[in-house]
C-alpha cells in the first residue's frame, strides 16, 4: 500500500490501468444496462420502472463509496502523510458528487410513478442530498487549500473525515425512520431480490465501479501533471 504512494510508481501503473478499467467498465456497465432494459423481466408490483434500479443502485453505491474513499484517503494524508492521498481524495470528489446527483435524479424519476411524488423529505433522500452538499463543500475547500499552499490541505482532509459520519446515517436511515424508500434488498451473503434482477444489478454495479476507478485515475493523473508542470515552471523562473 505504501509503495503505491510513490508518484512515479503510481504513474507507471496508472498509464496501463486507466484504459483497462475504462474499457472494462464501459463494456460491463453497457452490457448490464442493455440486459436490464431489454432482457430482464418487469416487476410484478413496479412494472417496467424497476429497470431504473440497474442505474440508480450503482450511482447510490458510488456516491457513498466515493465519500468512504475520501475519508480513507484523508486519514492516510493526516496520519501517514502519503503524498498521493490528498490527490486521490481530490480526484474522487467530482465523480462522487456527479454520481450522487445522478442517484438523486434517477431516484426522483423512479419515485414519481412508484410513490406518486418526485421528492419526500425523509431520512434516506435528505441524507443523500446532504451528501451532495458535502461533496460540493469539499471541492470548494480543496480548491481553496490548493491555492493557499500545501499546509492548508489538512482542512479538507479533516472535513473529509468528519463528513464520513453521514455514510452510516444514509445506510441506516431506512431502518431508523419511517420512509417511502424500501429497506436494503442486498446484504452480505443474502438478497431479497430474485436472480433475474440481482445478476444484471451486480454486473452493472461492478461495471460502474470500474468506470469510477478509471475516472479517479484520470483525475489523479491530471492533478499530478498540473503539479509537475507548475513545479517545473517555478524552477525555471527561479533559475
Amino acid at each position: 500500500m505504501h509503495g503505491f504512494a510513490n508518484p512515479a510508481r503510481f504513474l507507471r501503473m496508472a498509464r496501463w490501468l486507466t484504459p483497462l478499467l475504462l474499457a472494462l467498465g464501459l463494456v460491463l456497465a453497457g452490457t448490464a444496462l442493455a440486459w436490464g432494459v431489454f432482457v430482464a423481466p418487469a416487476d410484478v408490483l413496479q412494472g417496467e420502472t424497476v429497470r431504473i434500479v440497474y442505474l440508480h443502485v450503482p450511482t447510490a453505491w458510488l456516491g457513498m463509496g466515493g465519500w468512504t474513499a475520501i475519508a480513507v484517503a484523508s486519514l492516510s494524508e493526516l496520519v501517514w502523510r502519503h503524498p498521493l492521498a490528498g490527490i486521490a481524495a481530490r480526484a474522487v470528489a467530482v465523480p462522487g458528487a456527479a454520481f450522487t446527483a445522478l442517484c438523486l435524479v434517477t431516484g426522483s424519476v423512479w419515485g414519481r410513478p412508484a410513490w406518486g411524488t418526485w421528492w419526500v423529505w425523509d431520512g434516506r433522500l435528505t441524507s443523500m442530498l446532504v451528501l451532495l452538499f458535502l461533496y460540493l463543500a469539499y471541492t470548494a475547500l480543496a480548491d481553496a487549500a490548493r491555492r493557499d499552499g500545501e499546509g492548508a490541505s489538512r482542512v479538507p482532509a479533516i472535513f473529509g473525515l468528519v463528513g464520513a459520519v453521514n455514510i452510516p446515517i444514509i445506510h441506516y436511515s431506512v431502518l431508523w425512520w419511517n420512509s417511502l424508500h424500501q429497506p436494503p434488498s442486498i446484504a452480505l451473503g443474502q438478497s431479497a431480490m430474485a436472480p433475474e434482477f440481482l445478476v444484471p444489478l451486480l454486473v452493472s454495479t461492478v461495471g460502474f465501479s470500474l468506470l469510477f476507478g478509471a475516472l479517479v485515475l484520470m483525475r489523479m493523473r491530471a492533478i499530478l501533471a498540473e503539479q509537475q508542470a507548475e513545479a517545473r515552471l517555478r524552477r525555471k523562473a527561479m533559475a
Binding site: 486507466t18 432494459v37 417496467e48 492533478i223 509537475q228 517545473r232
Partner: protein, 55 residues
Amino acid sequence: MTHEALNQWTYVIAAYAVGLAGTAALVLQSWWAMRRAEARRDAVKGKGPVRNGES
C-alpha cells in the same frame, strides 16, 4: 393498461437519458482534462509543442 405501460417507459427512458448523458459527460471531461494536463507538462519539460496561452 397500454397507456400505463407507455407512461412507465417514459420514466425509464428519462432516467437512462439523464444517467447515460451525465456519465458520458463525466468520462469525456475527465479524459480531456487528463490529456490536456499531461500535454502541458510534457510541453513544459520540452518533450512536446508549447500551445498558445501556455508558457
